[in-house]
């Protein structure tokens, strides 16, 4: 793959909040989640557990307690972190697990985009309620919900802060001019 192709996938992914009524093939969901488990993780702890939700009734229930979940996605991936795993990384374990779960989420969203599937990462949901609805054990904390479905439209990208503003070279203050 050309580097530009990868960059175009990264740039092309959008947060989708309006979905078509169309089923995602099982093998595409599998590929999406497979991309998730290939994310890096601190000390290779792989603290994540994913709950794939395909049952439309269950999606409705989760939507009820998730103000940040817009549209009617075909599937959800509830990304959880497992305390029994991240505690092995000591005091920094929890923070690291959130970073790891985020990287897994990004992998899944990029893979989904590559398959023509829209996604949105959602943090505005009630953890207690989702835990209750999905009957999650105490060691699992749901941290991100990824909604998946075919987009009604691919929205325009919001503006990005330019590299010259975001990047400093060799210490704070000297702006990147590349």
């Amino acid at each position: 793959m050309e580097p530009k192709e990868l960059l175009s996938i990264i740039k092309g992914r959008r947060s989708i909040r309006k979905f078509l009524e169309k089923k995602i093939p099982e093998d595409h969901l599998r590929l999406t989640m497979e991309a998730g488990i290939w994310a890096p993780s601190g000390s290779n702890i792989q603290p994540w557990q994913f709950v794939l939700v395909r049952d439309s009734g269950l999606i409705k229930k989760i939507k009820l307690v998730s103000p940040g979940l817009f549209g009617n996605p075909d599937a959800l991936v509830v990304v959880c972190v497992d305390r029994d795993r991240y505690e092995k990384a000591g005091k920094i374990g929890y923070t690291m697990s959130i970073m790891d779960a985020s990287m897994a989420t990004q992998n899944m969203m990029l893979m989904a985009y590559g398959l023509g599937i829209g996604s949105c990462p959602i943090v505005s949901f009630n953890k207690l309620a989702v835990r209750e609805i999905l009957e999650l054990p105490e060691n699992l904390e749901p941290v991100i919900i990824v909604s998946l479905g075919y987009p009604e439209e691919w929205p325009h990208p919001p503006e990005r802060r330019p590299l010259s503003e975001v990047v400093y070279v060799d210490g704070y203050g000297k702006h990147y001019r590349g």
Binding site: R17, G57, K60, L64, S66, P67, S124, F125, N126, P158
Partner: protein
């Protein structure tokens, strides 16, 4: 007894949305509070619509919310303008009601 139909009940959906949003607002970005409120307003208009209580003016308010609510993610000023526009739209409805004295 909880029946399956309750999760399809529009009043129950709004009720749940309000409760979980209340909890979410404690931790979420400040502007998500107004976002949840106008989202609830949109849902309320949907409900009123099913009860035959929606006129063109309310439909227009609902459309305005639908089209512009995600400006909260892009541009704060644009979102605040939306909130002001909505206030104006409801104020005009109120103003046009004939005064009783």
């Amino acid at each position: 007894m909880v029946t399956e139909s309750i999760i399809e009940d529009e009043h129950f959906k709004l009720l749940t949305f309000l409760i979980v949003s209340a909890r979410g607002c404690v931790d979420e970005p400040q502007l998500y509070g107004p976002l949840r409120l106008i989202d609830a307003a949109e849902r309320l208009i949907d409900l009123m619509d099913k009860m035959g209580k929606v006129n063109d003016r309310l439909r227009e308010i609902r459309e305005t919310i639908r089209e512009r609510k995600f400006s909260v993610i892009r541009e704060e000023a644009e979102f605040l303008k939306l909130l002001d526009d909505l206030v104006l739209k409801v104020s005009r409805i109120i103003r046009e009601v004939p005064s009783t004295r």
